[in-house]
Amino acid sequence: MAKQTKINWSKHSQLIVPLLSIALIVLFNAFRDPSFFSIEITTNNAGSTVLTGNLISILNGASELAILAMGMTLVTAACGGQDISVGALAAIAGSVFVKVLRAGEITPVTIALGFVACCVVAMAFGAFNGTLVSAFKIQPMIATLVLFTCGRSVAYWINGGATPTVESPLINAIGSFIPGVPVPTPILIVIVTAIVLALVFRFTSLGLYTQAVGINQRAARLNGINTTMIKLLSFMILGVCCAIAGVIAVSRLSLINHETLLLDIEMDAILAVAIGGNALSGGKFKIAGSVLGAYAIQALTITLYAMKVPSTDVKAYKAIVIILIVVIGSPVVKAKLSQLWKKIKEGKQGKEAVRA
């Protein structure tokens, strides 16, 4: 029994880093302001009972990031590189969604139609990125630079200029609360997405194939895996994630602003993957880690906001956190540290030997 728990623990050791980061932030806040975590039950403008509080806003605010981090983890694992166009792609998807909704009346059917349309468009753009990466062997970050450069303009173009709005209680239900449900809908969407993804992993060999391609592409090919296809697939799944994130972001504000929608989220998504203990050079991955990483980032952001740091300055602090993480993770530093550790150990043993 004891042995069993030990094995399980080592299996999930990857999650230590994100859990530790969250714990640190929680501890910090607990000392700074104990009321930080209080959850209140209030009645919102629409008259329904809802949950509010910092904790809820962390969970709620990180929704898009968590969903993007899931897809980003797959791309990272399969290609050993990252997609920097996710923000732009989410803007495109959001625009398509809005375009479809504005074509007629907003009903559950048109919303479903809009969602399918933006998924298809986002998957097509994902396939474009994936083709550049897998067939033309361009580094992922460079390949996705194209869409990064022009994606938001494409989003602008789709809606022909303005920042169109989509007003409807149905959209509010997606962006904030479903009447009668006290939990913000984006949180529910994250849970649904996670379950769907879990089912995909359960009923296909996606996990095994992706890791095999990411760790040893040559061996994967010799075992009959179509490595090009797997990379393409990872980008298309990320495309769907972008579509979902785009829809949430649009629904929150009931409008699409191509320039500010999920701005700079690509960096946070990559950071979430890294904090989640996944190697940015690809290979083994744990999506749960990335999701936890996403919440850790959001917790950090909300904490900084709570400390009255202006939202524009948050970037600078995040940059420092990123640098710290990658420096500690750098092989050179790791080697130096383990050398140092060895020396200390040897020194101790030496002293003990002398004593003996």
């Binding site: 094995i7 996606l206 095994l208 890791q211 090919r221 010799l222």
Partner: protein
């Protein structure tokens, strides 16, 4: 005579954890000679070269050079260069994007500025005097591989090298290019440069070398004048078997009547990796082998069978029916399995668990949408861990933390799990302990008895003779012979490998 010696290495020893790579090896190089360094895999050639070029530091022994008082200390590649030892590797270690002249002079000399005119003039002179068909201003990448290699040699010559090491320079060259390289080598010889020539091609050794030093298992076998050492004797020295007294190993099984339809049959098969079109067939329950020295094309041939390299031509028949095998998955669907030669780069998925590594091939065959359940995978893994006695803490352990032999067994398990009709094993016993080796050999015989067709490749002839009932002999990427039944003697095999010279 002694004055001619430009380099003398005495009693060189070098060990790595668990392996003694070199033990008490002597090597002498004279002015103006081409000295071939020969040996099979693991003989210690590359270790010796690396000791000489400062990549490794030796554990024991001394190195002396002409014109240097006392011992020569070589701790880094830079030290070696300063001592006048230059190396040209099989892979071009030049930059393809800059000009020929720059490649000859970059990283040398002082001053902040590049004197293009002087540099190009000097480069032109050297290239012309060595008869190298390259122009100084030409981008290196636009030269053929042979010319690139020659440019690397020209760089070495200009750096006043006394000892030039050519480490398998001809592996990727065609006949004409090899001839060009040889004429350059002869030219350098006449200028008094001592050349150490490492190659796997026997004919080339005899075409250009004056002397041969043979290593085996990290020890010196001997130094010979080329004219005193016939090709077949060289092979026997590399393989470690004397020609006399081998006939007792003759096997007594007579060839089986070959009337059944072959399980696998190929005609005129060729691949992008430069193997010449070949015909091949294997019958049910047969164990055959591809033999030949390293680089003879034995691995490339089986890779072509499995579709591991891009197949460029030929017909394939499985059980008499014509099929197309262009990629590994095609071969797998036809019931072919392939254990690659390079376990680390082509075989294991290092970070994945033993279990995932075992089920990988079968999972791919079964299809993307039909994953094994955890329980099924566990059952498969446990079955084979037990059957092959794989030593691992659990099926969850990452394969990279297993020993080489156990990793190999995992890869073997991966293919056995797919129950192939035809299994190709390329050097399954390389770099693993003796116990596991015999286990694998026994397993191969057993599988054949159960009706599986197996192709078995090994650098050790003895092992091949023990396991195979038919041997296909390759030399310089051609099939040069096929031995079966009573013809299967070490003597015969070596003569066929060596070819020509008696």
């Amino acid at each position: 005579m002694q004055n001619d010696v430009v380099l003398s290495m005495r009693g060189i020893g070098k060990s790595f954890p668990g392996v003694r790579a070199l033990h008490n090896v002597d090597f002498t190089l004279r002015k103006g000679e081409v000295h071939a360094l020969m040996g099979e895999n693991g003989a210690g050639k590359s270790t010796l070269i690396k000791v000489l070029t400062g990549v490794y530091t030796k554990d024991a022994g001394t190195i002396h050079m002409d014109g240097v008082e006392g011992e020569v200390i070589i701790r880094s590649p830079q030290d070696a260069q300063q001592a006048g030892i230059s190396t040209v590797y099989q892979e071009i270690t030049l930059c393809p994007n800059i000009t020929v002249a720059e490649n000859m002079f970059i990283g040398r000399g002082k001053g902040a500025l590049v004197k293009w005119k002087d540099m190009e003039k000097r480069a032109g002179e050297i290239l012309q005097s060595l008869g190298i068909p390259a122009r100084p201003k030409q981008q290196l990448g636009s030269c053929s591989l042979a010319v690139q290699q020659m440019v690397a040699i020209a760089r070495a010559v200009d750096m006043d090298c006394k000892v030039l090491i050519l480490d398998e320079p001809t592996s990727s060259l065609d006949d004409k290019e090899v001839a060009m390289l040889f004429s350059l080598m002869r030219d350098l010889k006449s200028r008094g440069v001592g050349i150490i020539f490492v190659t796997h091609f026997l004919e080339q050794v005899y075409a250009v070398s004056d002397r041969i030093t043979v290593l085996r298992n990290g020890e010196l076998v001997g130094e010979y004048e080329v004219k005193d050492l016939p090709q077949v004797e060289l092979v026997s020295k590399m393989m470690g078997k004397e020609l006399e007294g081998l006939s007792d190993l003759v096997r007594d099984d007579t060839p089986v009547a070959d009337t059944s339809t072959p399980v696998y049959e190929a005609a005129g098969l060729s691949s992008a990796k430069g193997v010449n079109p070949f015909d091949f067939a294997i019958r049910k329950g047969e164990v055959n082998g591809f033999t030949g020295l390293l680089g003879s094309g034995r691995s490339e041939s089986v890779r072509a069978i499995f579709g591991a390299d891009r197949v460029t031509g030929g017909k394939v028949m499985i059980d008499g029916k014509s099929v197309k095998v262009g990629k590994p998955i095609d071969a797998m669907k036809q019931g072919i399995g392939y254990l690659p030669e390079d376990r680390k780069d082509d075989g294991i998925i290092a970070d994945l668990s033993v279990r995932d590594n075992i089920i990988l091939a079968l999972q791919v065959e079964k299809g993307f949408f039909h994953p094994f359940s955890q329980a099924e995978a566990e059952a498969f893994a446990d079955e084979y861990i037990k059957a092959l006695e794989i030593k691992t803490a659990s099926s969850d352990t990452p394969i990279k933390s297993l020993s080489g032999g156990n990793q190999q067994k995992v890869i073997l398990a991966r293919w056995l799990l797919t129950h192939p009709k035809y299994l190709i094993l390329d050097e399954p016993t390389r770099g693993i302990d003796v116990g596991t080796k015999t286990e694998i050999q026994r397993l191969v015989r057993k599988l054949a008895e159960e009706g599986m067709s197996v192709t078995f490749i090994s650098s050790e002839i003895e092992e091949m003779l023990r396991t195979c009932s038919r041997l296909i002999v390759m030399r310089d990427r051609h099939i040069v012979g096929e031995l079966r039944g009573t013809e299967l003697t070490q003597d015969n095999v070596m003569r066929t490998i060596a070819g020509g010279g008696d």
